[in-house]
Amino acid sequence: MTSQDRVPMVQLLNPEGEYGVPSAYAEYGKYIEDLKEEDFLKFYRDMARMRRFDYEATALQRQGQLGLWIPAIGQEAAQIGSGYAVGHNDHIFPSYREHGVAITHGIDLMSILKMLRGVNHGGWNPDETRFHLYAIVLATQTLHATGYAMGVKFDGKVGNGDLENDLAVITYIGDGATAEGEASESFLFAATNKVPLVYFIQNNQYAISSPVATQTTVPLFQRGAGFGVPGIRIDGNDVLASYAVTKKHMDDAREGAGPHLIEALTYRMGAHTSSDDPTKYRSKEEEEYWKARDPLARLEKFLRRQGINQSFFDECDAAGEELSAYVRSETFALGNPPIENMFKHVYSEAHPLIEEQLAWLEGYEASFLDAPQGGAN
């Protein structure tokens, strides 16, 4: 592996599923002490759910039911752990691979499939769910998150020690997106305004085919430092590190500490999207190295060490079957959106071109209904 991989990182659960808190990371360990058995089971259940969803969506894409699929296999610990660390008032600004974070915030997974089938652009209410819409143009969401966090600060909802009302913001970006200028501008605005914002970088090693070294010569957790955004690297395949470190920095941000950056070192075990072919740019050996660090297998080992019975894992498998059946039947039942949808909400207020063009299209479409039916005689 590269020199970047020798940088120390927060790891609380090793690849063998053994839990331990190095003294340097004691401040994070205490967040795990507060967890109950049910929390660990919840982590596993949702990580397994996320992976099963991914397999099913991949199959649906191959069957022509989805236009595209964006796999996140291998990133379950980074997403489920950090997603559950987000507080009940906090807002999340995702990139476009955060299906696991969506699971932790109650987004109907069919919303994600509808988007990738081409029915709409997501359709969930960003205010109500506090999980904002996917951002396809890389790093644009980091500035929206920063502006939102500036508003939170202007509203006086930071640093009151009031966990019911104070809030923080988290934004997810990938290693590739850190290269965008807008990510840098976001670091700067976040630091100069000292806003309650956590950057969660999932370094999954590749931006489509380009390895991390294409985007950076310094480890990404250091990327914000020059702007005034300190950072820390975690083992992104360790759900406990992901949860604990995110929770601590979200708590700190809510209390007024300013922005912080977390680099979760992980691996995109699948392709960039269903249009990609990873065999052209990475080796079998590398894939095997990361397979041995599979986040889901690691948590399973931990739970079995804790004495969790086989019956729990059987239940998770059964829930996976149920989820698969659900998304298949729902996807097959999806119709096409009505034509007027493309004209809706382009503007909040009346606009003559929208009205004129919708009226024209409706008339045009209706003209086919009036035409004689049937073949030539």
Partner: protein, 327 residues
């Protein structure tokens, strides 16, 4: 008795902003150098003293960041008035404006609105260095989801900035920088028509000139010169480049049969082109001559000592008027 005061366009925008900020405490003003200095044109001068640093503040020199954070603030319920210092510096923000600001209401199916005003001093004629004299409005007028307007008088400046701030949609507010110091009456009580309504600013019956922004003044000069020679020109201040109020232009063309469209922007694929195309579709049988566009040449905005030859003036407008009448 209406409450009318004389002021410049720059002062009128300032007064309009203050009134918008008084009406709604969620209105924020930010951009480069807008606070203590009041902006390089002093348009926001004194607002810091009146409203304090929580309502108006300087931004880092990062245009994408200015617009991107305005979007995030809109998601949190704030109405931002973001200043881009000169139109030539808007392009670092082009991504946030066209892929995000313009699309978020549609993308979110109306769950989010985007009450963001981007103030942009535009146009030439001030002898400036490169990137300080351009007219990039067509890029934004072409983008669905944006509203694009430009005031040409102090009264419009005072009211249209308030209408833009009150809109739930994103508005590009192009300020004719060489007219900042042009004075005129502002009626503080009665708003004029809505910000997307074109206005006949001089009546006439032989040729129609449709124009906007800094060229309204130039077109009125041309019309006055033509009147001395017995030609009657009707001048329409379009006021809005997106959407365009075609009805007002068509009504005038029905009367005159001749249309000249005037703007500083280079003419190829411009707002003026769209006016020519639509009027040809909507008033074909009323036209006595092809629609003629008068604007900048299709070259990069030239060095200042050549801008006089680049920009339309009253004579170039009248040359087009003569061509139309002679057709």
């Amino acid at each position: 008795m209406s409450n009318t005061v004389e002021m410049s366009i720059a002062k009128a925008i300032n007064a309009g902003l203050r009134r918008a900020m008084k009406d709604n405490d969620k209105v924020l003003v930010f951009g480069q150098d807008v606070a203590q200095l009041g902006g390089v044109f002093r348009v926001t001068e004194g607002i810091l003293d009146e409203f304090g640093p929580t309502r108006i503040f300087n931004s880092p020199i990062a245009e994408a960041g200015i617009v991107g954070t305005a979007i995030g603030l809109a998601m949190r319920g704030y109405s931002s008035v973001a200043e881009i210092q000169f139109e030539g510096f808007i392009f670092p923000a082009f991504n946030q404006i066209t892929t995000q600001l313009a699309k978020i209401q549609n993308r979110s199916e109306g769950y989010l609105s985007m009450p963001v005003v981007i103030r942009v001093p535009f146009g030439g004629g001030i002898g400036a260095v490169e990137h300080h004299s351009e007219s990039p409005e067509a890029y934004f007028a072409h983008t669905p989801g944006l509203r694009v307007i430009s005031p040409s008088t102090p009264n419009d400046a005072y009211w249209m900035i308030q209408q833009a701030v009150a809109s739930k949609d994103p508005v590009l507010f192009f300020e004719p920088k060489r007219r900042y110091w042009q004075k005129g009456p502002v009626n503080l009580d009665a708003p004029p028509a809505g910000m997307h309504t074109a206005k006949v600013v001089r009546e006439g019956n032989q040729v129609t000139i449709a124009t906007y922004g800094p060229m309204v003044t130039t077109s009125l000069e041309a019309a006055a010169m033509a009147a001395e020679e017995g030609t009657s020109i009707e001048v329409i201040d379009m006021r809005s480049m997106a959407p365009i109020d075609f009805n007002t232009i068509i009504e005038s063309v029905k009367k005159t049969g001749h249309l000249v469209v005037v703007a500083e922007a280079n003419v190829n694929v411009s707002v003026a082109s769209e006016v020519a195309a639509r009027v040809s579709e909507l008033a074909f049988y009323h036209l006595e001559a092809p629609v003629i566009r008068v604007g900048g040449f299709d070259v990069p905005y030239p060095a200042a000592k050549l801008e006089e030859k680049f920009l339309p003036d009253a004579d170039r407008i009248l040359e087009a008027v003569d061509r139309s009448l002679a057709y």
